[in-house]
């Protein structure tokens, strides 16, 4: 067995340290060593995105990364999105628009959507679908997930999310 290494990460604003083996995947270290169980293990083959976390400002699949590769990184998981004042607007909109059924994919969906809306603060429906392509949901058919993200974007851009014209269509952008 290889020697354990001393891993230091900043996760959801907190400095955390642990010993781990080089072969441990980031998702396993998050869940089993730090007890951060928001990111889920779905396929463990880089396809489903249930394990999506934010690593130094980029969405990554925590199942396809050794924790060692993240040494020193700043990580945000779904646990880090809400504030003491309440849930993040994306979380509110996923609830409002039934953006989940079983909920298994939801932490990855929301964590990815959170980064997507920073990369592209006012996306069209098409851009949301392209930007969320790495996150799979087997229940919803995606309609309500896309709706929830667009509604969150509308609110974050100061529009009334319930208005008929709140959501941008690709035609409006072109």
């Amino acid at each position: 067995m290889a020697d354990k290494m001393h891993l230091k990460l900043t996760i959801n604003g907190e400095h955390l340290e642990t010993l781990c083996e080089p072969r441990e995947l980031l998702i396993h270290v998050l869940r089993e060593r730090f007890n951060i169980t928001g990111p889920h293990i779905g396929c463990e083959t880089s396809h489903c995105g249930a394990c999506t976390v934010d690593l130094d400002g980029k969405s990554v699949k925590a199942c396809t990364l050794f924790a060692a590769q993240a040494q020193g990184a700043t990580i945000t998981t779904v646990e880090g999105l809400a504030s003491p004042e309440g849930m993040h607007v994306l979380q509110e909109m996923f609830r409002e628009h039934h953006g989940l059924q079983c909920g298994y994919c939801t932490p990855g969906m929301i964590t990815r959507a959170w980064r997507l809306l920073q990369e592209n603060p006012d996306p069209t429906e098409e851009e949301v679908r392209f930007g969320m392509a790495g996150n799979l949901c087997r229940c919803t058919g995606y309609q309500n997930i896309v709706k929830a993200i667009l509604a969150a974007a509308a609110i974050m851009n100061g529009r009334d999310a319930t208005a008929d014209d709140a959501v941008k269509t690709p035609e409006e952008v072109a």
Binding site: A2, E44, F66, A68, R112
Partner: protein
């Protein structure tokens, strides 16, 4: 997964020394092929040399009449680079269509080229633009670099550091992708740089990326989609699997080639 030693060198020379010391070591760049392979126990290296700390390998710059991309540049770096978008927009577009956003944030151009997956996109760009692959030891023209499915001219312990793409007058990539994996069932990169016309095909050939000479000759007469009307490469030599048989892939190559030329010429 089997245990291994983990090294994170801070420069290329250290990385090369580590590879020399550990015969059985493997390089990990973005890890998006290596980790899945290790999970399946198809690879069990005794040591990993992680190039993740080598920021010197991440740059993208215009150098004379070429765009030089560091081996550790991620697909997302290439897709969003202003330098690439201005000089070779077809290459930026290719990078944008690899995998999904999370994959593009980790996967690297050097890793993709070194792996030479027969359905990967970058080998088509390298061959289709006449790129030079630069390693810590030498410069290798793309024609000599890709030597067959999952096989390259790289020697033991040799590390890709940069890829240099000559800037073409016109270029574009078109791929018919597997909707699940987003790998190319057939992908065609075309370019025109003076009298140098290139048509490189990935995803279809049973021995990896190749140049489609007949199409290049046809395009040399006139660089337009019409020049390729009714053409497709022979089905013999194309790959057959559960996704598509050889004949269908050959057909797709013709269609993708016409689409790529159309995109390159703005039609």
């Amino acid at each position: 997964m089997h245990a291994f030693e983990y090294h994170r060198p801070s420069n290329v020379r250290q990385a090369a020394a580590l590879l020399q010391k550990n015969e059985d070591a493997k390089i990990v760049a973005g890890g998006h092929t290596l980790l899945p392979t290790m999970k399946q126990r198809l690879a069990a290296p005794s040591a990993l040399v992680d190039l993740g700390a080598l920021s010197e390998l991440r740059g993208i710059e215009k150098k004379g009449r070429a765009v030089v991309i560091g081996a550790m540049a991620t697909h997302s770096d290439v897709a969003t680079s202003d330098v690439v978008a201005e000089a070779i927009p077809g290459l930026a577009k290719l990078a944008e269509l690899i995998g999904d956003p999370a994959v593009r944030h980790r996967g690297t151009i050097g890793g993709s080229i070194a792996n030479n997956d027969p359905a990967a996109d970058y080998p088509a760009a390298c061959l289709g633009l006449g790129a030079t692959i630069i390693t810590n030891k030498r410069k290798i023209p793309a024609e000599e670099f890709f030597t067959g499915m999952f096989d390259t001219a790289l020697e033991e312990g040799e590390i890709i550091t940069k890829v240099s793409f000559p800037i073409p007058a016109k270029a574009a990539y078109a791929k018919f992708r597997n909707p699940a994996s987003r790998y190319a069932l057939a992908g065609v990169f075309v370019s025109k740089r003076g009298s140098d016309i290139r048509v490189a095909v990935t995803g279809a050939g049973s021995d990896g990326v190749f140049r489609w000479g007949e199409a290049e000759e046809a395009l040399a007469k006139r660089f337009a989609p019409k020049s390729l009307d009714g053409m497709s490469p022979p089905a013999k030599g194309m790959n057959t699997d559960i996704h598509a048989d050889a004949e269908y892939r050959a057909h797709l190559v013709g269609v993708m080639a016409r689409r790529a030329v159309a995109a390159a010429t703005g039609r």
